[in-house]
Amino acid sequence: MLTQQIVNGLMLSAIYMLVAVAFTLAIGVLNFLNFSIPGLFMIGGMVAFGGLRLGLPWPLAFGGALGAAALIALAVERFAYRPMQGSDPETPLVSSLGFLVLLENLMLVRFGSDQQSFPALLADMNLRFGGLVIGIAQLISMALSVLLVVWLSWFLSRTNTGRQIRTVAESRETALLMGVNMGTLVPRLFVGSALLASSAGLLFAVNYQQVSPFMGEGVGFKGVAAMIVGGMGSIWGAVLGGLLIGLVEVLTISTVGANFVNISAYGLLLLILILRPQGLIGQPPSREKL
């Protein structure tokens, strides 16, 4: 029974992990806490839902959802991030929060505020190992999430663009003097982060078969918590944080009860902030940033 809970927890972990990586990409490289990410998560689920309801085949609906998230991310970069350069670092945080509210309310106008049920795409197939039940959708989703993160980590450590991104993360000034073209790199980062968040939203919709205009909030804030628990700016930190938060949540439900979910998840965050403020595998702030 415990193993079953852990398997279920891993599914949730995979989603938190993707959201946490989306956040960590923006904060680690651009020092920007992008609060439109929960909105992009929701767009992933809601636009796919809207597409399916219109009768589109699922690859088109899913592609449309990811495309919509990418376009919105470009708008966030253009209107919430770029004009705020040179002001306080908190300013784009607030303007991106504005985008979250805007996106939620646009979806609210179109689809109403209720939970909608997302159609089951895969026949209800389960793998059974002894008493353990693993859904096919669950398995595919977890595999996809892990692949995405592994690919991203490879991309950052091995490619030319990855080296440029890591240079920007360390020092924008150095990147500028080396001729890194921020005008194209920053929008690409926003799109990358949006694709992670909206994929997470899609996987959430497929696995839990429900969507709503506000589905991004709970998951988004858990994603931020996961990022902080693991260590801001570190991809593997976000993975570890997502894993822990997801497991803590599911184990809390099975042992103490669903009412204690937020207490234990955010309690873990508080504990980490007290004991190890830089996160489990984060590094203390570098001298340059201080």
Binding site: T167, E173, T174, L177
Partner: protein
């Protein structure tokens, strides 16, 4: 023939005028040094030539092309490359990744690998630690890495901003030897230095900035003998 010509360049930071009408020219294969006190605008000049600091007015011709309106990455692709003040090595990257970063605008991977091997032969200290983080290098070694990184960008003009600053005498000599050697192989150099004596000794031409203006310019021997310069920058240290 003039290779790089900067004409009447003005740069303002807010209300402060950092450069007010600076002109400078460099012929192919030359070393031109820019001297001046702290705050004279030397670094600003190099940054403006790179395109990293916007200029309010003035123009720049490089290799027969007007580059005034080009962004830094476009100028670097044309061969205007900077070795920044304080070296600015990316310490969270390995030594090899720093070199690759220098080549990030190029696509000829085979040639890049060959040139990186060339750098390792020239600086065995870098080669033996190629996969370690650049933070493990000493200041002098970081300067060699910074110059190697700039070489990987295929410079036609290499600009160096105070390359000897903070280095041990041994590395100061190494840096100047390296500049002379690269120049002998045909590289044009624009050198900003606080070590005026050493800079004038290697330069073909010199310019002195004072408060954002050209105070004097010309032949380094003449300038070295000028009493005003002697007093201001050479002093006792001119050995």
């Amino acid at each position: 023939m003039t290779f790089l010509s900067v004409c009447d360049l003005c740069v303002r930071y807010g209300r402060v005028e950092a450069l007010s009408g600076v002109s400078l020219s460099l012929r192919e294969g030359e070393i031109v040094t820019v001297l001046g006190a702290n705050g004279a605008g030397k670094s600003t000049l190099l940054r403006a030539v790179l395109g990293a600091t916007p200029s309010q007015s003035g123009s720049m011709i490089f290799n027969g092309q007007d580059v005034t309106k080009l962004a830094a990455h476009e100028r670097i692709a044309r061969g205007i490359v900077l070795v920044p003040e304080g070296r600015r090595i990316a310490i969270s990257l390995t030594i090899e990744e720093n070199l690759l970063l220098g080549a990030h605008l190029r696509r000829d991977m085979v040639q890049i690998k060959k040139e990186i091997e060339g750098i390792y032969e020239r600086f065995p200290n870098l080669g033996s630690r190629r996969n370690l983080l650049a933070s493990c290098l000493s200041g002098g070694e970081q300067q060699m890495l910074a110059i190697g990184r700039a070489m990987l960008a295929r410079p036609k003009v290499m600009m160096l901003d105070e390359p000897s600053l903070g280095l041990s005498p041994l590395f100061v000599t190494k840096v100047f030897d390296l500049i002379k050697e690269l120049n002998r192989d045909g590289l044009s150099v624009l050198l900003v230095e606080q070590n005026a004596g050493k800079a004038l000794a290697v330069a073909h031409s010199a310019t002195v900035l004072e408060l954002g203006r050209v105070m004097m310019s010309g032949d380094p021997q003449t300038l070295a003998a000028d009493p005003r310069l002697q007093e201001a920058y050479l002093g006792e240290a001119s050995t």
